[in-house]
Structure formats: structure tokens, C-alpha cells
């Protein structure tokens, strides 16, 4: 089996067999993480740059830990402490970093397509750690890993994503990945936060959270992105909670045993109540644990020596 691309930019158009390869490898790495010495020498001598142009705690730590568990050398870059503040362009920044001989770049950026743009200016393999509202593939992979781990399968399940669908890269990557793996994907959220023509992606749009809960096996609850809500797309946080918040009363109405997921960071008492976030159905912290394993798998599978040869074969 071979990966089709030497980069991981998104899950759109990725084959089910490649997704399965990422997930299978991640499960093996999870075992490594449970050992007394949770570190392997696999990426010794490889250098990974973590380019974070947008704030992140979980994803950045998760990538960094994954790199260290694989014995790679890491350089961290964040906007606040770099020459970007002095007006350097993305291309110049990365060219400069690449001339220091790097093998892999992990990028988080507020512009959709930033990761794709990077692949055109550097030789290293690029991993998208979230580009604007476009994709966040490693988050979707760890979500799928958590579902697979808890429910033993992905195929045939009904996964409903709740909240700010429009601004969510997590949602887009999940839709592509889950559908490729044979799951049904539903969405539920306030009208102004649903993209136009979302049905064309083959998802079910649930008009109310009650209807979504009645049919779902998994609820993936998105964060209300306060930083992207400048236009007043819904009246107030309180009203959002009243209509779409995942409360104990609502979860108790579920017919099946629900799996509750959230990519973090949570706004407790807005999109999710603490009782649910910390309750028996919640796998939110398992998602974080699995995140490191998934990122180890992605780094391992993308770290090739003859990467230029792979790209020739795939194009």
C-alpha cells in the first residue's frame, strides 16, 4: 500500500484505503504511547518545522509531542515572536526556514489554501494543521480513530456535526473523511452558520437539535468561534445555548447510546454543558490522546527520503 500524496492537505478526494492506512498506523502508535518509554527512534535525523500563524494549544502541542515521540528535531514558529510582525511574507518566511534543511512542515494559517501554497514553494512534505475555514485533516482523522476505537466501526454510523458549520474546517474534513469511510453525516446549526448548498456534499440537514439527537450515533459538537463571529450571525450566546446547546435534558432523550465529541477548546455552558462534557458519553479527552497517535502516524507515513519520486508517480 502506498500513499497517493507526499503531503496531507485535506481529506477531500483522499481514498478510503489511504485513510485506513493512517488509522491502522495510528492504532499501532497508540500502543507505543502506552509503553514505559513512549518514544521510538524512527524519525531520528529528520527536522520538522511547526509553523503556527494562528493560535493553537492542542494541535501545536499534539504535533510537537508526536514529533518528539518519534525522535525528530523540531523548530517552532509562531507569529507573535517572528519576523512576520516585521512584514515578511509567508513565502519568504518558509524559504528561509527551508534553507536550514527541513524535511516536514506543519502549518496552521488563517487563510484557506495556505498549506497548498506552501507545497508550491518548498521541497519538504507539508501537513495541514488547519487552514482558515478549509480543512483540518488530522483532527478529522483523530475523530474517526476515536469513533472506530469506541464503536468498533465507522461504516454505517450516523455522525451529526453540530454548531458553526460554515466556519468549521474540522467539519469539512470530517464530512469528507467520514463519507469516504461509509458513514452517514448530518449537520445541525443556526441557518446563518450553514453554508449555502451544503446538501450537495451529501449531508443530511437536521432542522432541530432534538431531531439530530434522535437519529445520531455520534455527536461532534463544534466550538462557537467567537473570533469569527463579527457579523452577528446569531442573536446571543444564551439564545444559541437554548436552541442548540447540548444539555443533559437533550442527551437523555437519545434513543441510542450517544458518543459525544468536541474538537476543543470548549465554551462550557454555550455549545456544551459541563455535565455532558465530563459525563459518561464524552470521549473528548480520548480524542486528545488519539491526536498524538494520529499525528505520529501522519509524520511517519509522510517522511520519505525519495519524496520527489512519489510525487512523480502520483501526478
Amino acid at each position: 500500500m502506498e500513499l497517493k500524496s507526499r503531503h496531507l492537505l485535506g481529506l477531500e478526494n483522499i481514498s478510503p484505503s489511504n485513510i485506513k492506512m493512517f488509522l491502522d498506523t495510528a492504532f499501532s502508535f497508540k500502543k507505543v504511547l502506552q509503553r514505559p518509554i513512549p518514544k521510538v527512534p524512527t524519525l531520528r535525523g529528520k527536522t520538522v518545522v511547526n509553523l503556527f500563524f494562528e493560535p493553537s494549544t492542542r494541535t501545536r502541542f499534539s504535533f510537537e509531542l508526536a514529533e518528539k515521540r518519534l525522535s525528530a528535531d523540531t523548530i517552532n514558529f509562531s507569529t507573535a515572536s517572528s519576523s512576520v510582525l516585521k512584514g515578511e511574507t509567508l513565502k519568504d518566511t518558509i524559504r528561509n526556514i527551508e534553507s536550514m534543511k527541513i524535511d516536514l512542515v506543519v502549518i496552521r494559517h488563517s487563510s484557506p489554501g495556505a498549506a497548498l501554497f506552501l507545497t508550491q514553494c518548498v521541497d519538504a512534505s507539508v501537513i495541514n494543521a488547519g487552514d482558515g475555514t478549509h480543512e483540518h485533516p488530522t483532527q478529522a482523522l483523530l475523530d474517526m480513530m476515536t469513533i472506530q476505537e469506541r464503536l468498533g466501526k465507522i461504516k454505517g454510523l450516523n455522525v451529526v456535526i453540530v454548531g458553526d458549520i460554515k466556519h468549521s474546517r474540522v467539519c469539512r474534513s470530517n464530512i469528507f473523511g467520514l463519507q469516504a469511510m461509509g458513514a452517514q453525516v448530518g449537520i445541525c446549526g443556526p441557518g446563518p452558520l450553514l453554508p449555502r448548498d451544503i446538501e450537495k456534499l451529501g449531508v443530511t440537514v437536521y432542522p432541530s437539535i432534538e431531531e439530530a439527537i434522535a437519529e445520531a450515533d455520534v455527536l461532534n459538537i463544534l466550538r462557537i468561534q467567537l473570533e469569527r463571529q463579527k457579523g452577528g450571525l446569531f442573536p446571543s450566546l444564551r439564545e444559541y445555548r437554548n436552541v442548540y446547546g447540548i444539555t443533559k435534558e437533550r442527551v437523555d432523550q437519545a434513543k441510542k447510546k450517544l458518543l459525544i465529541m468536541h474538537p476543543g477548546p470548549m465554551n462550557r455552558g454555550v455549545e456544551i454543558d459541563s455535565e455532558i462534557a465530563d459525563g459518561e458519553h464524552s470521549v473528548i479527552l480520548n480524542q486528545v490522546t488519539n491526536g498524538v497517535a494520529v499525528r505520529m502516524a501522519v509524520l511517519y507515513l509522510l517522511s520519505g527520503k525519495n519524496s520527489s519520486k512519489i510525487i512523480k508517480e502520483s501526478t
Binding site: V40, T42, A297, Y300, L301
Partner: protein, 178 residues
């Protein structure tokens, strides 16, 4: 690729494993503190058979561990296609244990080198010994087996293929010219 000759058949393999088991038991005067760890793929199957054989001789069992060395290989940067990472399954603490490491073929010694690194990351064993079904020579590292089923001198152009019922449907060791 053509098969040059069959070096061992099912009966030969069975007898050889039995002899290896006796040698291990003789050397260690029993099974105190002994654990058997097989290297994927095929070393783990041989390990299971040796444990079965110990059970027949000593009427008690020793722990089995299965080791995947993929992440410790020194050559994987040379491939485009990444080897599949399988799970290491060692459910006991290896510290202060006497480990018999089992593999099917000993060749360059690089697999054993990787296995030693992998084991040391799991704890500090009292000792590690190596048992192999076939030693074909051409070592690239200062490594030697403590228990050898069959010494088979080969040329580098040849390959040794060990087939085992559990994976390949039959037991045999064949010499292949590539």
C-alpha cells in the same frame, strides 16, 4: 526467482524446534525467569511453537511476547513505501527476565540489532539470547545466535524463504535464486 532446493520440510522443522527447545532448557536449567519473545512476522509463530514444546517437556508454560521492530529499522528511510507498523505485544515487565529472542532467519544481523534496541526501551532484562531456525551467514554487525537450528551457507544472490503453516499454509524452508 526460482526455487533451487527445499532445505527443510515439516518434519525437519518440527525436530529442529524440539532440539532448540531442549538446548534452551538445558542451558537455563529449567524455565525460571525465562520469557520467549518472537519477532514479527514468523519469529512470533516459531516462539509460540517453542512455548508449546516447553509445555510438553516441563509441564508448565513461559510468557510469550511479540515484537514488531519496524520503528527501529535503520533502512526504512530508503523505501518510498513505508513498512506497515504492527503492534508490539509484550504484556509483562521484561526487567530482570531472561529473554530468548526468536527469529526465523539470521542474515545481516540488522533485525536483531533493531530488536535489541526495541527491547532495551521496554526495560532492563537480565540477559537476552537469540535463537533462530536458519543462520545463513553474511553478518554486517557483530551479532551471533546462541541457538541455531540449521547453518546454511548461502551466496548473497540467494534467498532463504521460511514458510509456516499458520501464515503460508505449509511448513518448509526453501532456497531461492533471485
Amino acid at each position: 526467482m526460482k526455487i533451487k532446493s527445499t532445505l527443510m520440510d515439516s518434519k525437519n522443522i518440527q525436530r529442529t524446534l524440539k532440539r532448540l527447545t531442549h538446548e534452551i532448557l538445558e542451558k537455563h536449567q529449567g524455565i525460571d525467569n525465562l520469557v520467549i519473545i518472537g519477532i514479527r512476522n514468523r519469529g512470533d509463530i516459531l516462539a509460540k511453537r517453542i512455548i508449546e514444546s516447553i509445555k510438553n517437556i516441563e509441564s508448565s508454560t513461559v510468557p510469550l511476547g511479540i515484537l514488531d521492530i519496524t520503528l527501529y529499522r535503520d533502512d526504512f528511510q530508503l523505501f518510498n513505501e513505508k513498512p506497515v507498523v504492527k503492534e508490539t505485544d509484550i504484556s509483562f515487565d521484561i526487567s530482570n527476565k531472561k529473554i530468548i529472542l526468536i527469529d526465523d532467519v539470521l542474515y545481516t544481523g540488522r533485525t536483531i540489532r533493531a530488536a535489541l534496541d526495541a527491547l532495551i526501551d521496554l526495560g532492563r532484562p537480565a540477559l537476552i539470547q537469540v535463537a533462530v531456525l536458519v543462520d545463513r551467514g553474511h553478518r554486517e554487525l557483530p551479532i551471533k545466535a546462541d541457538y541455531v537450528g540449521r547453518n546454511i551457507p548461502t551466496s548473497k544472490a540467494e534467498q532463504i524463504e521460511v514458510k509456516l503453516k499458520e501464515i503460508d499454509g505449509e511448513d518448509s524452508v526453501v532456497l531461492i535464486e533471485s
